[in-house]
Subunit: 212 residues, 2 copies
DNA sequence: GCGTGTGAACCTCTTCACAGCG
DNA sequence: CGCTGTGAAGAGGTTCACACGC
């Protein structure tokens, strides 16, 4: 495999392909074409082939892609063959909801632990795990080595949660906070911003109303 | 205001600007420069000016942008001066977590109602509202006219939830499901895909490890 | 014939750099 | 002088269309 130019959009699409392929595997399909993959993901077949050809030649002309092989290759590209552990910071409504809904069938991820700074919450059950003190965060990060942390703390506490994680050596964070977080170069932070999604939806809805 | 070419990325940034401006307003600031706005949002000042200049000339050379005016203009562009109502379909862990955490300070949105198809749940409290039957969805959409629906149902139930919404005239949907939903042209659907975010994070973490 | 992989054209977004106004 | 607004250049991503292999 040759490392090549990456685009986040392409990576995101690979994630979608992987999801489709897992479903196809469950359905017992052995072969998929770029056409089928494209239809399921709602894009063009050329885009699918382009995305895949960046990393190698995984298909066979005239037939398509072997489901198992392609899935293995994509997981290798993404690095999700051995997915990192996921921990949640903040046992509020969002944090607990994530713990409860779990991550089955989404590529091998699992929520390893959930932390909170409220002493009253520590020890309480949250999904299948007990809530632990934030003081235990450095320990678990050192133990698991590679960890994705989800920040689901209440407003204003995001930056301090991030600092704790960064100091403990965490390199990947998904934040549900709305504050933009100050982050070192070598730590990747992504955001889930529901209210921005609402803004985008509102904009496009209003736009369509008055005829594009 | 002149309607112009839109790019989703630009709209998303406008949403961030609006968020920064609301905070600045609360802090009592009257003027902001593209420089300051850019620093807060983590992008370049040229990008900020470009985004704004697509829709008009909101600033004053030599000084910057009036916080109040710019915010009003951006909200006008986004259409969030009078934000649509938001309803939630699915009173599971995610749906309830959203209801409980609310949407204060995010631009005037509010969760209007939450629906579930489980008779045992109907009438139960969920945040500040009682869970209602999905049969009431068409009624509320007709009543509110413009509605953003959040789909937070359990796996496999996404498409049927979407169909109900579309039939009732809903034009904007934010889905937490992983299934790609079949949607008519005139209905905008966006997705929150936590597991795809994990894939993107894993990829970039692994990439950085072996030195870009 | 069918479907992949890819050069080339196309298009869109970003960045630069500066004219022009307050 | 400082900061906006924008033409022009550059970079990046997408689509087209076809050669090639099965």
């Amino acid at each position: 495999m040759i490392a090549a130019k990456v685009s986040e959009k392409s990576i995101r699409r690979l994630s979608h392909y992987a999801r489709c392929l897992r479903l196809a595997k469950i359905r017992g399909e052995f072969i998929m074409t770029s056409q089928q993959l494209a239809a399921t993901c709602g894009i063009s077949s050329a885009a699918v082939r382009r995305d895949l050809s960046i990393y190698g030649e995984f298909g066979k002309q005239g037939s398509g892609y072997k489901v198992n092989d392609l899935l293995a290759n994509i997981e290798n590209i993404l690095g999700t063959t051995n997915p990192p552990s996921v921990i949640i910071i903040g046992a509020g409504s969002i944090g607990c909801a994530l713990m409860i809904s779990g991550l089955d069938g989404t590529g091998g991820y699992a929520y390893e632990a959930v932390f909170d700074n409220d002493p009253a919450k520590i020890g309480r059950q949250c999904g299948e795990k007990q809530i632990r003190s934030i003081e235990e965060i450095p320990g678990i990060i050192k133990e698991k080595k590679e960890v994705i942390a989800v920040i689901a703390v209440s407003r204003g506490a995001g930056q301090s949660a991030l600092n704790t994680l960064v100091d403990a050596g965490c390199k990947a964070v998904l934040s549900f906070t709305l504050e933009p977080l100050k982050t070192p170069e070598d730590v990747e932070v992504r955001y889930v911003e529901v209210s921005t999604e609402f803004d985008v939806l509102t904009h496009s809805m209003r736009r369509k109303e008055r005829g594009d």
